[in-house]
């Protein structure tokens, strides 16, 4: 029983005593600041660890298994390096840019008030989505850090087997600074439940002139949010911020770096589907931290997010396998794994909003669409998105973002949207929500697409994007890192 709780109980007992002497509500008196519930802390600590697991080794292996032996280490290295680098950038200024009040630029990006985690102590807390429920701010920072780490790591798959390490070293800091942090701020930053509820209460209570003042306060609170959040876009765990964002950036990278030497002529089979399966499985496992952790509490919503993350993934994997069976005669493990990832991507924004049956539907659609995109359409367009970052993460992310607008509807078993001003789930306007979702998708596609294009071009100019043909043939492991992955 946490100290906080016991303190409350003491206070309460005395209170009860006062009751009897003068029956005055002790609870009208200013309440102590909320303290974290250790159950929430336990879950969020675990969730943060799971998201790291999902990136290294998860994503690293999923990608690594898909490249040729000679580029295995470069793949592992790129993912691992991105994670390390972004961890540091995050605590230096990333967290602040994403999650602090941004003054005049607040609609687009945060400020530097929390740079170097200024003012954060083991006692400081961050609000969850429930008024009065908080978690230690350090936990919140860790959890969000893992998101900032995996997003750029997803990009590298698109330029796999042919992008110089030095180019990556230059690109990543630029990209997170100008693309990721702003988008995270635009989609996720808001004033928080306490302020919202408080302002709403005051407004409700206010009368006469006070009303206008209260209304102004209310508007100020509502205005204190990122652009997309302000629109009311729903993104439970990062469909836009993480997947559409990295997917479109990957496409830009693939186009600017160009095709691999021998692409289309030489066979480039995955060097180890075993590693890819391990990676896919760890992605699934870790994704529960990603999705269920995004509830920020250990409660019913986390549970909903978890079951959705189970069934949507399973459904998408089965869908992809079926599609393969029909289209190519045989269901493949790579197909199953790809489908699972597509399902995970699609359910990400919907995890806490859709019902299980809705999630299954979403998974099936994502499985089919991505499978079709990665085989038919991609070959048609002929660009070399080596590991289908665009086809799975961007396309799957779009399916998920739009699908969320539909499946969040209570009539479809969704949760609807909680209205903090009224304190209950509001009426659900599917069309309006769908349009809002579409707007958020476009915002992300444009900001990240244009931003990434500019940054890749800049890097190409400064250090160049790819090695010489002979070096590329020799493999990035030896050329960039002077090692070989296997010496059997």
């Amino acid at each position: 029983m946490s100290l906080g709780t016991s303190r409350r109980i003491v206070r309460l007992a005395v209170t009860a005593f006062l009751f009897c002497l003068a029956a005055a509500s002790a609870f009208a008196q200013a309440p102590a600041p909320p303290t974290p519930n250790k159950g929430d802390v336990a879950w969020m600590l675990t969730a943060s660890v799971l998201v790291l697991l999902m990136t290294v080794p998860g994503l690293a292996l999923f990608y690594g298994g898909l490249v040729r032996t000679k580029n295995m280490l470069s793949m592992l290295m790129q993912v691992f390096f991105v994670v390390c680098l972004v961890c540091i950038i995050w605590v230096l200024y990333g967290y602040s840019l994403a999650f602090s009040e941004g003054g005049s630029l607040n609609a687009y990006v945060g400020g530097l008030s929390k740079a170097f985690l200024a003012g954060v102590t083991p006692e400081s807390t961050a609000e969850t989505f429930t008024d009065g429920v908080v978690i230690p701010e350090y936990v919140y920072i860790c959890f969000q850090m893992t998101f900032a780490c995996i997003t750029p790591a997803l990009i590298v798959g698109a330029m796999a087997e042919r992008m110089k390490f030095s180019a990556l070293v230059l690109f990543i800091p630029l990209w997170v600074t100008f693309v990721y942090f702003p988008i995270a701020h635009m989609v996720w930053y808001w004033a928080g439940p306490a302020a919202t509820v408080g302002a709403a209460k005051t407004l409700a209570a206010a009368t006469g002139d006070a009303k206008t003042a209260a209304q102004a306060a209310m508007d100020a609170v509502t205005a204190n949010a990122g652009l997309a959040f302000g629109w009311g876009a729903l993104d439970f765990a990062g469909g836009t911020v993480v997947h559409i964002n990295s997917g479109i950036a990957g496409l830009m990278g693939a186009l600017l770096v160009g095709r691999r030497v021998g692409y289309g002529k030489e066979a480039m089979p995955p060097h180890s589907l075993t590693m890819t399966l391990i990676g896919a499985a760890l992605l699934w496992v870790g994704w529960f931290g990603f999705n269920a952790g995004s509830a920020l509490e250990a409660g019913g919503t986390a549970a909903l997010a978890m079951i959705n993350t189970f069934v949507a993934t399973a459904a998408a994997a089965l869908a992809w396998m079926c599609a393969e069976k029909v289209a190519k005669g045989k269901p493949s493990l790579l197909g199953g794994a790809s489908g699972a990832v597509a399902g995970l991507v699609a359910v990400t924004p919907a995890a806490g909003f859709a019902g299980p049956m809705g999630a299954i539907l979403l998974g099936i659609v994502a499985g089919f669409v991505c499978m079709f995109f990665c085989s038919a359409i991609k070959n048609m367009l002929g660009y070399d998105d080596a590991l289908d970052v665009f086809g799975v993460h961007c396309i799957g992310g779009i399916v998920g973002a739009l699908g969320t607008g539909i499946l969040a509807a209570p009539i479809l078993g969704g949760t609807g949207v909680f209205d903090y001003t009224t304190g209950k789930v509001g009426d659900y306007d599917m069309l309006a929500q769908f349009i809002t979702q579409a707007k958020a998708v476009c915002l992300t596609l444009i900001w990240s697409g244009v931003g990434s294009f500019i940054l890749f071009s800049f890097v190409k100019l400064v250090v160049g994007l790819r090695p010489g043909t002979d070096q590329e043939r020799e493999g990035l492991d030896l050329v960039d890192h002077g090692e070989r992955a296997y010496n059997y």
Binding site: M268, P269, S332, S375, K378, D388
Partner: protein, 112 residues
């Protein structure tokens, strides 16, 4: 001496080996190779990419034998390696002018 080189289906190795040892041949060298020939390969599909694989796993057995044993060896291999289906493999015989046993320095027939 002659070098008898046989390319066979992998799962036949054990049978062939014992047949050769039964002939009193005390040594041989084996290599994993890939073979291209009449035997058709297969197609592999990885997401969007399809590859026709025409090289199939085979085993190459190299055994150096005294002149006299060549035919027996060839016959033994044919007998044991045959399944009657395309891809059973080939046997090639080529001349060896000189042989040395590293350990002892013995040469030629006494070296093998």
């Amino acid at each position: 001496m002659k070098l008898v080189t046989a390319i066979i289906k992998p799962f036949k190795l054990e049978e062939v080996r014992s047949a050769l040892t039964d002939l009193g041949l005390q040594g041989m060298t084996v290599t994993e190779v890939k073979g291209y020939g009449r035997q058709k390969g297969h197609t592999e599909i990885y997401r969007g990419a399809e590859y026709a694989v025409s090289f199939l796993p085979k085993i190459k057995i190299e055994v150096v034998v005294p002149e006299g044993t060549v035919d027996k060896a060839v016959e033994a291999i044919v007998r044991t390696a045959r399944t009657g289906q395309i891809g059973d493999g080939k046997i090639f015989v080529s001349p060896i002018e000189h042989a040395v046993r590293v350990r002892t320095g013995e040469t030629d027939d006494s070296a093998i």
